[in-house]
């Protein structure tokens, strides 16, 4: 099953490779991993999307907690949470396609953030499935380039992850 795990860890050189190394050494899956400093610059927050049986997920959270630089770990998918991912898509948008492309972007609430005479670059934010749906909706020949950040997640309401 898919799980989304949030990790608070010391913002130190090498902390990321400890987490990545743990996943490869123990043959755990990583679907995506995002990380950036928090409002407290000494700490980073990481969101890992992974999959595995309940036993494997239990081991993943225990092994993450065991890393000396990790402050806190929470499996967001255990309760209500929100996740978002950012995608930038560069599409063909010559005179013929421009209108259609604009309309599809609008339907998905994408924003066109760069324009050339033959391309648009569209910014789209949402849950992973929404980004997938947008890609599906486009003619595959229309896509020149895509880049996705991987999911970031946060608990709903009063559910917080702090040091």
């Amino acid at each position: 099953m898919r799980h989304i795990i949030s990790v608070l860890l010391e913002n130190e050189a090498g902390a990321l490779s400890r987490v990545a190394g743990l996943f490869s050494a123990r043959a755990y899956n990583i679907e995506s991993l995002t990380v950036a400093p928090t409002e407290d610059a000494s700490m980073s927050r990481m969101t890992i999307v992974t999959s595995g049986s309940e036993d494997v997920i239990e081991q993943i959270t225990k092994q993450l907690n065991k890393l000396v630089e990790v402050v806190k770990v929470v499996d967001l998918s255990e309760a209500e949470h929100i996740e978002r991912e950012l995608m930038l898509v560069k599409v063909r948008a010559g005179a013929k396609e421009r209108e259609d492309m604009k309309r599809i972007a609008d339907i998905f609430r994408g924003r066109i953030i760069d324009v050339s005479d033959s391309t648009y670059t569209i910014e789209l934010t949402g849950a992973g499935q929404k980004l997938d749906a947008f890609i599906q909706a486009l003619d595959s020949g229309a896509i020149i380039e895509t880049v996705r950040t991987g999911a970031s997640g946060i608990g709903r309401g009063n559910r917080v992850l702090r040091a």
């Binding site: 010391e10 090498g14 050494a25 000396v68 630089e69």
Partner: protein, 574 residues
Amino acid sequence: MDRIKGVELTGAEIVVRCLQEEGVEYVFGYPGGAVLYIYDELFKQDKVKHVLVRHEQGAAHAADGYSRASNKVGVCLVTSGPGLTNAVTGIATAYMDSIPMVILVGQVPTHAIGLDAFQEVDTVGITRPCVKHNFLVKNVADLAPTIKKAFYLATTGRPGPVLVDIPKDITAMPTEFLYPETVSMRSYNPVVKGHGGQIKKAVQLLLEAERPMIYTGGGVILSNASQQLTDFVRLTGYPVTNTLMGLGAYPATDKQFLGMLGMHGTYEANMAMHNCDVLVAIGARFDDRVIGDPKHFAQNPRKIIHIDIDPSSISKRVKVDVPIVGNVSEVLDEFLRLIRAGTQKPDAARLEAWWKTIEEWRGRDCLKYDRKSKVIKPQFVIEKLYEVTGGDAFITSDVGQHQMWAAQFYKFDKPRRWINSGGLGTMGFGLPAAMGAQMANPGATVACVTGESSIQMCLQELSTCKQYRLPIKIVSLNNKYMGMVRQWQEFFHGNRYAESYMDALPDFVKLAEGYGHRGVQITKPEDVEPALREAFKRKTELVFMDFLTDQTENVFPMIPGGKGISEMILSEEL
């Protein structure tokens, strides 16, 4: 706080001052370009003694053996590049067995890092998966706090090796020396006390058991909880088994001890483990060499209580019913307190019936071997070693058949006397580990049980033994084969002995003499005991005993890898 106001020390001086502050007695190491400033400072003082090994693997194993035999932190010091890569096997060995060590490593100067400088490797990267934690010191002001943290991390929680990578320019830079008295890390707070409710539940479950079993591992030794374990076992009257890493935690000569369990464990220990209805695992981790196939193990229903300081060891291979995260010694203290305070006692009749079954299993005499043999049986050598040393020696071993025979036939009554590489299974561990054990216990009897193959993997340390006059007794069971490899080839690979025969062996007697030691070869069973007696009389000399043993002897019982207990092979079945 030890602050020298206004006086600045160089990084190298700080390193040595930190070691002094930590009360480090010995540093096992090997000099090289990146650590020259540190060696210069070691040279200028005599509080911290340096032991010059002949290969960095030896330094790491010696520091490891020192730690296991003394309950102190093992410290080693190696240079950058090949110095570190040579030490990696030793670091990984310590990591697998959770041995507290601090490894200080030289690195190329900070400005040269990443430029493929001479003797540069990514030390932090290479060692990351085989240390508890590691640090690269980029600022001399961080040096003392980092070393303090390294010692703290190595010894608290589940212990392990911690590495500090120190660039050469940092060791030459001056700064004010300030050694922190305490360490506080928001990201590192190991649990020590077990959960009260869980402990109550566990004790209740144990006292109601029909067929209870106590299974303990290296954690009991690391936690110095042998006394508590012994009290607990005696108080309950329950049977107990130790893992390979846990031998000595409970007196092996006691009736309640069923011997070692696992792949080469006794029939009675494995059967009791398999057929019990309540199992308490203490500082042990249900690894593949202990329970084999977890699915097979899970077939028999039983309630499991698991005490471990590392939450990730719990429910890793086997689902448990009552997990207790905490330091083994503190949790056992609580167990004892509750049992003594309560009125409930184990049901004597049911316990008696359980012991009757166990005694039947014990009656199989699973460790029997041919005592009338005309060639030396390896088991016989270990039995005699046990007798001659009065069961009171520090025994290190390498890896293979000799290791298993030592574990089966030397009855360890005290913790920290049995020193072997259980997790990583590192051939070459025995001799340097014996050096560390002897350094930690000058005057004590230290023997290295090894084989002709293992001993050759860190043979160069015979030279270190000479330099420091370490009177280690080497008991080499020479069957001219990598015995355990040969055994597996015989059982599972159609007797095809691919590359397991040790051709062109050296003359070990001359070899020992070449290093300035005494060497002796023993070829007949009747010479075994006299040779051992003669060797152990020599309190100041290293004696290399080359026992020519039965080439075809196998280790029994054996549960083949990945199999279950019902597939155990006993000697008489062959």
